[in-house]
């Protein structure tokens, strides 16, 4: 027994699908996913953050070091800042001589560290490759104090899970997982290529580590705060991956 079908039959539906599928995909190109999909993608990015920290990151695997001869020429080493993007000038401190790094949040001994105090601590120097999210790389030598030494000094409480870094660069801020922050190559850097950190590279003090993408390596530091909740970040709040570990 056969009955005439109404509307489209299976074969027509199949043909429609064959045409509509690719057409839909082509129309999707040049597209960010729209508000619904792109926010779903950003939620999914949390999965990759988790895998990045819990699966990929090894607390003691060190990034390769390079000979000084491998350094990228000074004028070819890019340096971005939000203030420069907006105004064409570098961020400035009202009173550079009064600068100090505030270390606070979930710690037993909050403190303020001046640059001479930081420079008196045992230092680490390495020549490593810098990876920018854009895809370029550059090699430079960085000198600073391991972040783990600062943490040992202020004694984070057991609830501390993250560190928020604040700057004087037009509201740029950033958040790190504690595991990456305590990596032996994560430092607060005050020198680049054997010279005091230049203003375009984040003077007087910046975060540096060869295990994260450049936008996590916060320049122009003013404060670091140990937190229980995950801090956002200037670029991360706009959709960039949060963990950004290499």
């Amino acid at each position: 027994m056969t009955e005439p079908r109404e509307g489209i039959n299976r074969r027509d539906f199949l043909r429609l699908g064959l045409v509509a599928g690719p057409a839909g995909l082509v129309a999707a190109c040049g597209w960010d996913g729209g508000p619904v999909l792109s926010s779903k993608l950003r939620s999914f990015s949390r999965v990759n953050d988790w895998v990045g920290e819990k699966v990929w990151l090894s607390g003691d695997r060190l990034a390769r070091e390079y000979p000084i001869s491998a350094r990228t020429a000074v004028e070819r080493f890019p340096a971005y800042s939000i203030t420069f993007n907006k105004t064409g000038g570098y961020p400035g401190l009202e009173r550079p001589d009064a600068w100090a790094l505030e270390v606070k949040g979930l710690v037993r001994k909050p403190t303020r560290l001046t640059l001479p105090m930081i420079q008196m601590l045992p230092r680490l120097t390495y020549t490593v490759k810098h990876h920018c999210v854009e895809g370029w790389t550059a090699i430079g030598t960085w000198t600073g104090v391991p972040l783990s030494s600062i943490a040992a000094m202020v004694e984070p409480t057991p609830e501390a899970r993250y560190i928020r870094f604040d700057t004087y660069d037009s509201g740029y801020y950033n958040g790190w997982d504690l595991a990456s922050a305590m990596h032996p190559q994560t430092i607060l850097a005050y020198a680049w290529n054997d010279q005091p950190l230049m203003i375009n590279h984040g003077a007087p003090l910046r975060l540096y580590s060869p295990i994260k993408l450049g936008y996590k390596l916060t320049k122009y530091l003013t404060a670091m705060t140990f937190t229980r909740d995950r801090p956002g970040g200037y670029w991360e709040d706009q959709g960039y991956p949060w963990f950004a570990g290499l």
């Binding site: 299976r10 539906f13 199949l14 429609l16 699908g17 064959l18 509509a20 599928g21 690719p22 839909g24 995909l25 082509v26 999707a28 190109c29 040049g30 597209w31 960010d32 996913g33 792109s38 993608l41 950003r42 999914f44 990015s45 990759n48 990929w56 990151l57 090894s58 695997r61 990034a63 390769r64 990228t72 020429a73 070819r76 080493f77 890019p78 490759k129 990876h131 920018c132 999210v133 854009e134 895809g135 370029w136 790389t137 550059a138 090699i139 060869p210 295990i211 670029w235 706009q238 959709g239 960039y240 991956p241 570990g245 290499l246």
Partner: protein, 236 residues
């Protein structure tokens, strides 16, 4: 499109003529892979545009790249901007790799790999097939489910998928997977090989689609319904 494919699969059981050619899992992974690959390439081209060179900053490698200094047109990109491209790429990478693994596990468990894996003994019949295509041989050489050139193509494309995936991981985790990055010649070269795989995928797909329509249109139906009614019967 997914619904149409599922309907077509259900339809297959009702088909009366032809021979069963593709298992449902093969058809599902084939079309999923096609869509995912399109998304991976679109988001990849979006990411490429953020720094459209190879080699360290300001010091480009002497590597062939016709797209040096050029981004790709909007219609070819997915994600809208760098962050969007990255989020698409890192999200689609999961189903892309899982689909590939499901397919390979199926081939291994079902024994289907035998009709697809190109082995040294296929060299001779690959040559005969090439002669046939060049019209230097009159009759189509006898073949199994796939001829030797198809085996070569389908084996190579799986290897290409492996290279694309591994070079992707090499630039995703150049510190944690430093050994893998080194295997590709370092970060800058790994990024280059990852880019090159795109164009091999594109070339393969173009030839693949042209051959389907020019030589064996019923094979398209077979990849949708599972049933083959064309003129190249299997000699298996």
């Amino acid at each position: 499109m997914g619904k149409a494919i599922l309907l077509a699969m259900a339809d297959a059981s009702a088909s009366s003529s032809g021979t069963k050619r593709h298992h449902g899992l093969v058809r599902l992974t084939h079309w999923l892979n096609a869509a995912l690959l399109l998304g991976m390439i679109g988001s990849g081209l979006q990411i490429y545009g953020a720094y459209s060179h190879f080699g360290p900053r300001g010091d480009p490698y002497p590597l062939a790249n016709p797209w040096d200094g050029h981004g790709f047109p909007k219609w070819a990109r997915l994600g809208g901007w760098l962050a969007g491209g990255l989020n698409w790429h890192f999200a689609l990478a999961w189903p892309f790799v899982i689909t590939g693994l499901v397919y390979l596990v199926f081939l291994a468990l079902s024994g289907e790999w035998r009709s697809l894996l190109f082995r040294p003994r296929d060299l001779r019949s690959a040559w005969q097939m090439q002669l046939y295509y060049l019209r230097l041989r009159r009759e189509h050489p006898p073949q199994g489910k796939h001829n030797a050139l198809q085996k070569l193509a389908y084996t190579s494309i799986v290897l290409l998928g492996v290279v694309a995936t591994l070079s992707g991981f090499a630039i995703y985790k150049p510190v944690q997977l430093a050994w893998l990055t080194a295997l590709f010649g370092g970060y800058e070269l790994a990024r280059y090989w990852h880019f090159v795989t795109v164009w091999v995928f594109v070339a393969f797909t173009l030839v693949h689609v042209i051959l389907v329509f020019a030589v064996d249109p019923p094979s398209l139906r077979a990849m949708i319904t599972g049933w083959y009614r064309g003129r190249f019967p299997s000699h298996d």
